[in-house]
Each structure stands twice: as structure tokens, then as C-alpha cells.
Symmetry: none
Subunit: 207 residues, 4 copies
């Protein structure tokens, strides 16, 4: 009756099913952004998607799976946006700037997505599976950033600092952006991005 409890995640799915899942994920994002994770019940999400609550369970065996898919979707979208900004950079410094500025602009353009994933990440402590997944996701992103710093140091472009601490700090500073933009709606996004990039450029560059 249901499309089976797929363990391998990316099993074959019909076009129409994929479309429904996408629609539900999108509705989940706007719902969470609008009324908060705690109040984002299936009824609320279904209402916004224009479908019945039962259909959500039909497509996502557990609530956790839907939330995981939301995070996956947003992360993919962000990755894509950031890769475009970062790749082809001439220097590690430029790559870092590109990453930071790209992130900030992405935040400004997709506020609902960012609010959604931050709320899920915070609340997901109870949803074991989602929690694990989110942590892994985060760990990977952090590791990549750490690697970039290490490479920049080996290339002699960055000073000698602890790459891990720097990675954690940059990540945290970037992730603080959505809340700040939300708290101060009039903020000049480009200036904000620039200032944030300046901060970490000064922090990493060889004297």
C-alpha cells in the first residue's frame, strides 16, 4: 500500500511521487518558517500543501523522514549556490570570501529555508535519526572547511592557526546570519556580507 520503507533512500520513485514529495517538503518549509517547528503539525503542513494529512504519512513513513528530507533539500540547494560562488577562485582567501558572501546572500534570498533547517536542527534532538543525520551533515561541512583552511596554510596563504577552531567559528558566524537579518529587516545585505568576509580574512591571512 505504501511505497515501502526504503532504506537505501534513493530507490526508484515515480515522477509523480517525486513531485508530491517535493510539494510536501516545500510546504513543510513554509509552515515551519511561518509558525515554528513546534506548531508545524501534519495538518498545518497539509493545509498549506493543499492535500490531506494522511498523504504525508503515505509519502514519508515517519515524521523524521520528512524533516530529514527538508534538510537534505535545503542543503543541496545551498551547496549548489555556494559551489557556483566558490569554484574557480584564484586564491584560498578569495574562496573564503566567496563562501561567506555566498552564504549571506543565500540567507537573504531564502529566509524560509534557513529558518526551517535551523529550527529542525535545534528541535531534532528528540528525533534520533534526524539528529544523527544532521550531525553528520554538519560534521562533513565542517571537515571540508577545515580541509580548505589546512590547504591554505600549506599553500602559505594562511597564517598558522587551528583549522578546526577557525572552521567552527566561521560556520557559527555564517549560521547566525538568518536570525540577524530577520531581527533587523532593513540590514544592507551586501555590506553585511562584506564585513563578515573582512573579519575572517583578517583572522586567517598571513600577517
Amino acid at each position: 500500500m505504501q511505497p515501502e520503507n526504503r532504506s537505501g533512500d534513493q530507490e526508484k520513485r515515480s515522477f509523480i511521487e517525486e513531485a508530491r514529495r517535493g510539494q510536501i517538503v516545500a510546504a513543510a518549509i513554509v509552515t515551519i518558517a511561518e509558525i515554528g517547528y513546534a506548531k508545524a503539525s501534519f495538518v498545518q503542513i497539509a493545509r498549506r500543501a493543499g492535500i490531506s494529512p494522511g498523504l504525508i504519512t503515505y509519502h514519508f513513513a515517519r515524521r523524521e523522514e520528512l524533516m530529514k528530507q527538508v534538510m537534505l533539500t535545503v542543503h543541496n540547494s545551498m551547496d549548489q549556490a555556494l559551489t557556483a560562488r566558490t569554484e574557480g577562485s584564484e586564491s584560498y582567501c578569495a574562496a573564503l570570501r566567496g563562501l561567506i558572501e555566498g552564504f549571506v546572500h543565500y540567507c537573504a534570498e531564502h529566509p524560509a529555508e534557513l529558518i526551517a533547517i535551523s529550527q529542525i536542527a535545534a528541535a531534532a534532538r528528540d528525533a534520533e535519526a534526524a539528529r544523527t543525520w544532521a550531525e553528520e551533515q554538519n560534521a562533513t561541512a565542517l571537515a571540508e572547511l577545515e580541509d580548505m583552511f589546512r590547504e591554505g596554510q600549506e599553500a602559505g596563504e594562511f597564517r598558522d592557526f587551528a583549522p578546526r577552531v577557525m572552521a567552527v567559528s566561521v560556520m557559527a558566524a555564517m549560521e547566525a546570519t538568518p536570525a540577524e537579518l530577520m531581527a533587523r529587516p532593513g540590514t544592507d545585505v551586501t555590506a553585511y556580507a562584506n564585513e563578515l568576509a573582512d573579519i575572517f580574512e583578517l583572522a586567517v591571512r598571513r600577517a
Copy 2:
């Protein structure tokens, strides 16, 4: 039924009552740290405190009040620890170092407290009253930090950056510490604190 609906918060409370409240707050902290805010029901908290769930409501009229008291307690404790570290600094740079290092060490010594307040702050988005309170708390802390940066600039000690962006970033980087220390238990705390302070010292100082 309850020991009076206290509006002015700091009404006279018997010694025994104060002790119970403290015990409940402590139990709430370890419960949230252990199983997460979402699962931290009164039953769970009461189990850990060795009391009946009803007693929590007896001492805290609403769930929100308990959570607010948790935040208040932790913030007070942290403020005390940080003030000791910061006051009497000879320079703004030293004050910033003191703040950052103090925060990191506090995190290392009180991991549960930090996890608890971050979870409450994140989850409280739905609980109107607590949300407001947490946001005000945060806004105040941010504003103070911003002021410090502005003063440092006026004193010619800091370079010309946007104080708000810097405050947000420092705060975010500091608040990322508990999760990092939890994720990597073996971390050398002093080194971590030092590195984090270095990052922002380089970011703020006049070239």
C-alpha cells in the same frame, strides 16, 4: 494551590521552597542536556529530581516559568563568571580576550547548562512569553558587546569595522563552543579558548 501567583518574581519565598525550586531547575537542566528540550517532559524532569510531576507545577505555575528560571539561573551564573574575567582589563583587546576565554572555560565546566539554554532559546520560538524574554536577553548581550566595540574604536584601539556584525559573529562563535566540546570530548580547552581569542583579536585590532 501554588505558593501564590508571584508577579514581582522576587517575592519572599521560604527556604525550603527556594531549595525545591533550585532542585527542580537543576533537574530540568540535566534532563534537557540528556534527552533534549522536546522530550524533557515534567515526568522526565520529575523522575530525575526524585519527585512527583505535580510538584513542578506546584512550584512553577507554567512550564514557561520553569524554563525562564533555567535561563535566568544559567545567565546569572555565567555573568558572574565572566565579570570576574573581564573587569579590570587594561585594554579593550584584553577585555575581549577575557570575555572569549572566560566563556570557553565556562562552557567546559558547565556543559549541561549551556546545552540547556541553547535548546530552550531555540525551542522557545513557539512559547510566546519565553521567546520574548530570551530575545530581549540576547539583544541586551549583543548590544553590550556592540558598545564595547564602538568604545574600542573611539579609543583608537580597534580598526573601523561594523560593530554589530562583529558582535553577532563573536557571540555566534562563542555559542558554538559547547556543541564543539561535546562533539570532541578530548579537546584542549585552553588551547581552544586561546585560538578563538586570537581569531577575533586579529579581526578587531588596528592593522
Copy 3:
């Protein structure tokens, strides 16, 4: 979760939903009549309706809404019954008789309904919204009766009395009927109705 938070009350409702709501209202009436408002918990009502307690909340967002619907249902049913008796009366005296006799007969035929609404009206003192509604309902009924008396006086059919006091008294005397019929099951209803009508006919008529 619920079939929408209807504000306009008379939104479109599926046949099956309407049926369930009716069933629940009916169960609420017999429950209140049987064990009293104070003990008429959802568990009790659901048991009598042969459904689960959660289903009541599913159809009525708040307890108050269910109670309001009970009153609305009974009032409508009673209005219908009384209108048939009253309209087309040749004189004000006849209209008053029709009203009183109609009311008494309605009480005899629907004892549970009358008990239920009187209990709700009395208990609703605490339930703010229901209270307001019930009071308005009552005030309207009283005002209509008062108007009738005034018109009868202007028409020269009634003597010169305070219409308000008379309205309050007639209403009270009528509303005392269900309890009396319940306390004395063997009562001759027609005779009772007749006697009650006599009382107020003598009280209002021009000497």
C-alpha cells in the same frame, strides 16, 4: 487535525461530519442530564457516544464550542416548537398562553435538553466565552418578552405593570418547569401548563 478552525460557524461541512457532530451533541445532552455538567467529562460523553474522547476534540476545537453548540441546538429546537404555538395568536393574552403552554409541553417532551442547557448556563459562569454567549442569549429572550408586554400594554390589553419584572418572572417560572417535572414524574403536564398560564394571565390582564 481539526476540520478547520471555522470562524464563520456555518462553513460547509461534510454530511458525515455533520452527523458526528450531531451525535456528539446528543451524547453531551444525555451525559449532562444523567451525571451533571461538572462530571460530564469528554471521557463520559465519548463513552455514551461510543467513540473515543479524542474525536470530540477533533470535531469541536474547544470544550466551550461543544457546550455552545448544545445550547444553540436546544434553543433552535425550542424556538421552532414555540413559534408554531405562538404565531397567529389573536391577542397578546393568547400569545402569552401559547408561549407558556408551549414551553411546558416542550419541557415534558425534552427533559434532558432542558436540564442540559440549564446546567451549562449555570456552570458557564467560569467559561468566559460561553458565559457571554449564554448571557446574550438570555438577554435577547428576555428583551423580546419585555417588548411583547409593552406592546400588549400599548394595545390596552394588559394592565400597567413593569414589563421587565414580569418578563423575568415569567421566564423564571417557565424555566423551573423541567426540575419540577423531573422531581414529580407523574405530573399532569397539560394541567400544569394550564395553571401556569392562568397565573400570568391574571397577573397581566387589565382588571
Copy 4:
């Protein structure tokens, strides 16, 4: 430990105990009048009496007993006031007038008492014992009134009506007074009493 579960009600009680009971009863009356029966918890009553909640249970084994005592107290007080007004009347008509006018004036002078007993009577459906007692109380009052009407008829002073119906109606009309006086605070009490007495004088008197 407790003053024993007295079944015979009027067992020997120390002066101090009697005083406490009176104080608690008085507090219960004002509490119910102020916040309604449903919200009149022991904590609320105790607060108003300036004692601890436990002491109420100490003096009244069950909640029901307290409520029963409230009714008893008010009824006694009212009886006393009415007897003074009624006794020594020259005619049955005069006695009826005295009763009605006395009741109305008592309502105006003791609004809290009347509100309290009406709320308890309505809510007491759940409290088996109190319910029974209140019903007996009411039945007695009704029977006395009925007797008076019968005697008046035998004396040739009243017309030939059903004494029971008349008794129920007079009682109901009188009991509607407190709500009316509350709903319309400016009401001229003496005029109200007069009008009400007029109504029933016309209803009972021999043409």
C-alpha cells in the same frame, strides 16, 4: 487528629472550632461570589480566609460538607430575615407580600450569599450528598409555601388554583432576583419587590 467524622451534624464543637468553621464558610461565600464555583478551589478560599488550605479539610472532612454548610448557613440567615417579615401578618395575602418583598430585599442586601447558594445548587449535581440535601431543602421550602397557599384557599382568601404550581412559580420568580439585580445594578429594589408582589397577589387572590 481530625474532629471526627460527625454524622449527627450538630455534635458538640468547641467555640474556637465553631468560629473557624464560620470563618471558612464566610470565605467560601465571598470566593464563590467573586470567582465562581468552578474556580473556588480550597487554595482560593483559604487565601481569602487568611488560613492554609489544609485547615479547611481539617474542619470539613469533604469538600461537599463545606458546601452543604454554606447552604445551611445562608438558608438559616434567610429564614430568620423572612420570618421577621412574615409572621404576624393579618392575612395570607399580606404574608405572601411579606415573603416576596422580604426575599427581594434580602437579595439586595446579601448578594454574595445568594450567588453562592445558586452556584452551589447548580453545580452540586455531582456532589451526591450536597445534591440530596439541597433538594430536600428546596422540597421543604416548596412544601411550606404550598401549605400556605392551601390554607389561604381554605380560608377563602385565595382563588382555586393548584398550590404546587403556584409555589414553584413564586419560588422561581424570587430566585431569579439576584441575577437580575446583578445584571442591572441600578434597579430600584423597593419598586422591584413591589411589582413582584403585585404579580402574585393578582395571581392568587379571589377575583
